[in-house]
């Protein structure tokens, strides 16, 4: 995986150009399939564009995720929210509490998964016992080329907290200059 966004555009699944895909289905089975497809579409879209947070109020106008201009169909805000809820139940999304639920983390990789990735990177680079700042992890020369390079800071801290809970790391310092010691 490269750290920079891939140049080729995101390839939407064929359902994205299927008009009924934008209407909430009443049949329970079909509805479930629809939600599932939308969820995986959201996740893969966010992964593709390395989107960590979605703003529900903005995403309609911003992205072509919920709006297919070609067939002139868009997903209603209620339906969007229901898909986010669906993701949340699967542990793939989380509302940011401070912003009144408008911002939502999309966990195309969950904090636990990120924690695993960071841990394995620490081991690979033999930095156990070392102290690293959060800035170093996100923007440092050493982490360039790693999965978490340039990732969302809040999501990274969530991932580090997972490591703290596992007893693999310790966080100290102030808000702006957080340091992490890995064991």
């Amino acid at each position: 995986m490269s750290s920079s966004p891939p140049p080729q555009p995101f390839k939407f699944p064929r359902e994205h150009s299927f008009p009924p895909f934008f209407t909430p289905q009443t049949n329970l089975t079909t509805h479930h399939a629809q939600q599932t497809k939308w969820s995986s579409l959201v996740l893969s879209y966010c992964r593709h564009h390395r989107i960590f947070k979605l703003s529900l109020s903005d995403s309609l106008s911003q992205s072509d995720l919920f709006h297919n201009q070609q067939i002139n169909r868009r997903l209603s805000p209620q339906h969007q929210r229901s898909i986010i809820d669906f993701l949340r139940k699967e542990g793939r999304a989380e509302y940011q509490k401070e912003n009144g639920g408008d911002l939502v983390y999309i966990y195309w990789r969950t904090p636990e998964e990120w924690a695993g990735i960071i841990e394995s990177w620490i081991e690979e680079t033999a930095q156990k016992g070392q102290v690293l700042t959060v800035y170093e992890l996100l923007e440092g020369e050493n982490t360039r080329g790693s999965e978490f390079y340039g990732m969302d800071r809040e999501v990274l801290i969530k991932a580090l907290n997972v490591l703290v809970k596992r007893g693999k790391a310790q966080i100290f310092g102030q808000e702006d200059s957080l340091g992490v010691k890995f064991f």
């Binding site: 150009s17 008009p19 009924p20 934008f22 079909t30 599932t36 995986s40 067939i71 699967e90």
Partner: protein, 462 residues
Amino acid sequence: VPSNFDPTSANQHTSLPPCLACGIKPTLTHVLKAAISNATHHNPPLPPPLQSPSPIRPSQPDPEASFQCPRCTFLNHPSLMSCEICGAPLISHNLPSDLTQRINTESPGPFLNNSSFPNRNDTPESIKLSFRGGGEKIFYERLKNSLTQRKWLLQGAPPIPSSSSSTPSNPSNPSTTNDDIPSRNKMGGIAGLERQNLAIRQKNELVIGTAFEDLEALMASAKQIVELAESFARQQQQTKGSSSSSENNTLLAESVSDQLGLITTKDIVGNNSGGNSLYLSELSRTLAEFLTDDRKNILRKSGGIISLVDLWAVFNRARGGVELVSPADFEKAARLWEELNLPVRLRTFKKSGVMVVQAKERTDDQTVKSLLAWMKDLHEFPPEKEVAWDWRLFGRGVTARDAAERFGWSIGVAEEELEMAEERGVLCREEGIEGLKFWENFIDAGEGKGYKDAATLESERL
């Protein structure tokens, strides 16, 4: 009472009433007596075993009559052209051959000759009996006896003619209806008129009463027969105690009603529960026949499926406004189809509760199949307007209206059928500005079993 008061020689005349025997006009009291006795007896005229017409123009009997009637041997006045008693022509010198033959073959007794009284109707108003060789006393006794015993009632007498009220019981004092009425009027003036009206009203009541008695008797007997059939069936049930007895019950009851020819008339079988179920089952059969009738072709005209309400309207219209079926009975009858194993079935759509009627062999699977075939066609034929999506891949959405046009359904039925197909996951919906459209289901085509698998696969891959 005059001395010649003899019923055997009684006669009455529509015209003038002088006594035939004595030539004296009867007094008013005689006429009144005749009327009163007539009213009290209220007797019909005897079924006349012997009838002889009365003369057209009665006249005083001539003691010096020299011309003997060839039929009744009455000695007529020579100037008369026809017999005074029996009205036979008195052309003795050159009798027609048929008349002489008839006289020869028959005994010289009185007989009825309708053609001989042209002024009268078929029902004679009076009987004149003449006795020439005696025996009138015995006849009078017998007649009186039979009048008091009313023997004619035992022999199934003919119905009372309305003119019977004018039959006098005073034979020697001929009276007429023309005389009766004025005499009554004289009795009471306005009161007489009122009495007349009362009599008319009573007569009307009598007529109406008897007419409806007949109807009620018919109804009662029909009910009795149905009850009888049911009691037979009950007996069988008790003796056999098997499940087949209920079939016998219905069979028997049906055969009875069939023979009565009153299959779908609710009033006949009454309101008891057994009769009602009989009515419903018969109505159910009639409906099934009506539906499957090839000439009417109701089902095919409406695309093999018709809503119960529409069918009810069509059915009642076909009945031409008589013996209309109530909606409740109609629905009950339709529910009996399955039980009676008839080739049509009632189907209730789950969502809306709309009830439709369709042939038994027509199933949802077939409907879905035809819907899908249609959808497949839409992949082949380009849509009328330019569309943004890949119609070769997805086809296009159809509204209930499209489906109704395509299959000949009513709009309501089309909606229900499309939703039924959606319920089965064959179709999916799209709500847009153009209304609700149904598409082939590309959302859940089996491959979208769950993104979870895909997500875990991807995360594992990493």
